[in-house]
């Protein structure tokens, strides 16, 4: 019996030795190929701009972008600058929508291609009007940077940045007006993340929070403190609703824990009782 088995094993094992050449090919495919089966598409913009031939100041762009919020969400070069990232000939061609580096005054329209809501608030603001009149004014890049863009935070409003053009006083007042709402937004983001980790997927609340914080932060770009103060209540109401939902979910999770703890104790109890019964002598 076992000899039959051993010989069967030999017959199967021997060919595998003959197939060793297959190994390198397979290793490449199996171990290094991405699991989606698709090759990661080469982005020519990034290949050239990160190569050694490029000027050092241009090379830093790709690193900054990679670490940025845009980079992490797969918004790449062509989405803002146009051009074809797959074809070297048309990678910087106006026919493929390439616009290159926008001029200082053109930056808001450049970013506003996607960030429509923010652009419409910015245009009517003191900053926007000053920019259009070609006076000293900030554009998007002034506060957010160009390629190393981070997720929006209230600390972008700071003395160093804002006092370049005027006294920090008015920026400070605005920051104070935003402060509590921003804090609440942060707390809710953390709360929702914790819920996710507990296994609850709070989709409706996440959407609501995103929408509310996006609208609130877009509103800031009017740099109109009175407007922000007037509408803060409206935003707070929406945030409070999300907060109530999160609290309700935590209450539900506590109930679940108690219920399953009760069942655990009941079963443990029954197990012990049956065990004791099995030990006691029958009459």
């Amino acid at each position: 019996m076992r000899y039959f088995f051993l010989s069967l094993m030999m017959i199967v094992v021997l060919p595998s030795i003959g197939v060793t050449g297959y190994r390198e090919n397979f290793e490449q495919e199996f171990l290094t190929k991405t699991w989606s089966g698709e090759q990661v598409e080469e982005n020519l913009c990034i290949s050239c701009h990160s190569s050694d031939k490029m000027k050092p100041e241009f090379r830093s762009i790709t690193d900054a972008w990679q670490a940025s919020w845009h980079g992490q969400n797969n918004i790449s070069c062509e989405h803002c600058h146009g051009g074809d990232p797959k074809d070297a000939k048309t990678s910087m061609s106006p026919q493929r929508g390439f616009v290159g580096t926008p001029r200082y005054q053109e930056v808001p329209d450049f970013c506003g291609k996607c960030h429509i809501g923010i652009l419409s608030n910015f245009i009517e603001s003191g900053h926007g009007k000053a920019l259009r009149a070609a006076r000293k004014a900030p554009n998007c890049v002034t506060c957010h940077g160009s390629h190393g863009i981070r997720k929006a935070s209230i600390d972008i409003i700071n003395e160093q940045l804002c006092s370049r053009c005027h006294s920090y006083e008015r920026a400070k007042i605005m920051k104070q007006a935003l402060f509590l709402t921003e804090k609440k937004i942060g707390q809710l983001e953390t709360g929702l993340e914790e819920l996710r980790r507990e296994g609850i997927y709070p989709e409706a609340d996440e959407k609501s929070l995103f929408s509310t914080q996006a609208e609130f932060r877009a509103l800031f770009h009017t740099v109109d403190v009175d407007l922000v103060k007037d509408r803060t209540e409206e935003f707070t109401a929406k945030l409070d609703l999300i907060d109530r939902n999160i609290r309700a979910t935590y209450r539900e999770l506590r109930f679940r824990k108690n219920f399953s703890a009760f069942l655990m104790l009941a079963f443990t109890g029954m197990g012990i009782v049956i065990f004791l019964l099995s030990q006691s002598k029958e009459d």
Partner: protein, 137 residues
């Protein structure tokens, strides 16, 4: 003897409360949840309150929604929640589109995605015309 009786009674007690908990959970589980449409309150709006080419934003079933009176195809209602990340879309009269202010997601007046990051069309809300009224829901 007494000990045995006690143990047996205690076992019966534990067994019954466990059984009861499970049966209770099972029955509630099977009794099912009310389906959303019957839960939501219908909204009635007079047809002539929305002129041709005009829109009205409402809240239906806790969702911000929009009713459009399309010049060519009549009334239609959608949820305003953009299917990308949840921002509320706005009606662009000039372009006859619904545009999301967050990342420029663009939908046509059938709710289909024209451009931008949204992965799915806007959720349509059932709308009926009953005489002079629009019934949403």
């Amino acid at each position: 003897m007494k000990r045995r009786r006690f143990l047996q009674t205690f076992l019966a007690f534990l067994g019954s409360i466990t059984l009861f908990s499970f049966v209770n959970s099972l029955v509630r589980f099977l009794a099912a949840i009310p389906t959303r449409p019957t839960e939501a309150k219908k909204i009635f709006i007079r047809k002539n309150e929305i002129p041709s080419g005009g829109v009205r934003t409402i809240i239906y079933n806790n969702i911000p929604a929009i009713i459009i009176n399309r010049p060519d195809k009549g009334f239609i209602a959608f949820s305003r929640e953009c299917t990308h990340l949840g921002c509320l879309v706005e009606y662009d009269h000039g372009k006859q589109r619904l545009i999301c202010p967050c990342h420029a997601g663009s939908y046509d007046l059938e709710g289909a995605v024209i451009s931008g990051p949204p992965p799915k069309p806007l959720t349509a809300i059932p709308l009926k015309i009953e005489g002079e009224n629009l019934v949403i829901g």
